[in-house]
């Protein structure tokens, strides 16, 4: 490999690893895309770079500009990396109940953390960030949930990589957070082969988040609505914290050290495999396991870890 002169050039082009030994069906292959190998440690490096570069093209970012973003962690960390390299400042609105490593990584790259109430989950971070953005028009608000550069990063990056490495893909499975990965990769793959099915996986976050006063505090990312997410997804399935931890451990059994949301996605891939009987499932492991070591996910009693995971935001 040639010498790389800019760490940001290492974002993307992640490997697909065959983990079919974990498939519940002999005739279903499962391939996992290791997004934890991005330099900032997660799939969100892709959208962080894409959103910042688009803002630069649009002339929104003066040298030394300050950016503001709500994030449960990974987008904030990706933006912190990109901003550090490019000389911007970053303020991340982060729910209080994320793992300590997420905060530590934000500190590594010098981002300021503005804490939002943990009981309101990511919805609370979005709400607070929008309020702060309206009070500080001088800060650049990229807003991943409504920024077309988010799904475009996957449409132009993640999707073509999967098609290049595995054109035999029949099913694509990924976690639903901002919906950027599912929209971008899903639309690209369906254009290459309309038979490809797109499955979304989500945690029972609405159950764990108990600070919502009523259902109107719910949140659907604007990009999901604008890009026709409901018409694109073929299936959406919820994975419990316990199943997420179990599959995070199974991934480790075959040497894949991935985060808890990757365990959830893998559980979704296994559910997909059971349903379809034969095919090739590509699933996204959004980050590595490093940021969850403090949760004891691999080593502590599974009942204890599951209880802890119920109060933690890991998507």
């Amino acid at each position: 490999m040639a010498v790389v002169h800019d760490i940001l050039d290492l974002i993307g082009n992640t490997p697909l690893v065959d983990v079919s030994q974990l498939s519940p069906r002999r005739d279903v292959r499962i391939l996992v895309k290791l997004e934890g190998l991005n330099p900032g440690g997660s799939v969100k490096d892709r959208i962080a770079l894409a959103m910042v570069e688009q803002a630069e093209k649009d002339g929104l970012l003066e040298p030394g500009a300050t950016l503001l973003e709500p994030s449960s962690g990974n987008t904030g960390i990706g933006l912190a990396l990109v901003c550090r390299v490019k000389g911007y400042r970053l303020k991340v609105v982060l729910p209080a109940n994320v793992s300590v490593e997420r905060r530590q990584l934000l500190a590594v790259w010098g981002a300021d953390i503005i804490e939002s109430p943990g009981s309101e989950g990511s919805n609370g971070a979005v709400k607070m960030a929008r309020q702060i953005a309206s009070e500080h028009p001088e800060w650049v608000f990229l807003y991943q949930y409504a920024n077309p550069a988010n799904p475009r990063a996957h449409r132009e990056g993640t999707g073509p990589e999967i098609w290049r490495d595995c054109p035999e893909v029949t099913h694509f499975v990924a976690g639903l957070g901002t919906s950027g990965t599912l929209l971008g990769v899903g639309s690209y793959l369906k254009e290459q082969n309309p038979a490809v099915q797109v499955w979304a996986v989500e945690p029972p976050a609405g159950e764990m988040v108990d600070g919502l006063r009523n259902l109107d505090d719910g949140y659907i990312p604007p990009i999901f609505t604008e890009l026709g997410g409901a018409g694109l997804l073929d299936r959406k399935t919820v994975i419990s914290p316990r199943q997420s931890i179990e599959w995070t451990r199974r991934l480790a059994d075959v040497g894949v050290f991935a985060g808890i949301s990757s365990g959830a996605a893998m559980a979704g891939a296994a559910r997909c495999a059971e349903t379809i009987g034969s095919g090739v499932v590509v699933v996204v492991a959004a980050d590595g396991g490093w940021k969850y070591l403090s949760t004891g996910a691999w080593t502590d009693d599974i009942d204890d870890v599951t209880e802890r995971a119920k109060t933690l935001i890991y998507f």
Partner: protein, 91 residues
């Protein structure tokens, strides 16, 4: 057919604080209409005035979101678990 419905925190006060309630129905639409009938405090929160699913509500049968099955016509059978969750962001 009797069906157990798991409620999110925000709806529990309308159901006497219960996390799970029993209702009946052969489809998700029937289950939700019976639920709102039994607990009027939920009206407007689960179904809209025109009878469709509230946009910020996700309803699952055995962990599958009914919007990607047959929506309100999704059939509910013996032993199926129905749960209601508010739409929440990640990222």
């Amino acid at each position: 057919m009797p069906v157990e419905v798991r409620l999110p925190t925000v709806l529990r006060s309308a159901a006497g604080g219960n996390a799970t309630v029993s209702t009946s129905g052969a489809t998700i639409g029937e289950v939700l209409r019976n639920l709102v009938g039994a607990y009027p405090g939920m009206s407007g929160q689960v179904l809209t005035e025109d009878g469709s699913l509230h946009r910020f509500v996700n309803v699952y049968v055995n962990d599958d979101d009914v919007r990607y099955l047959q929506q309100l016509d999704t059939v509910v059978g013996e032993g199926d678990e129905v749960s209601i969750l508010p739409a929440v962001a990640g990222g």
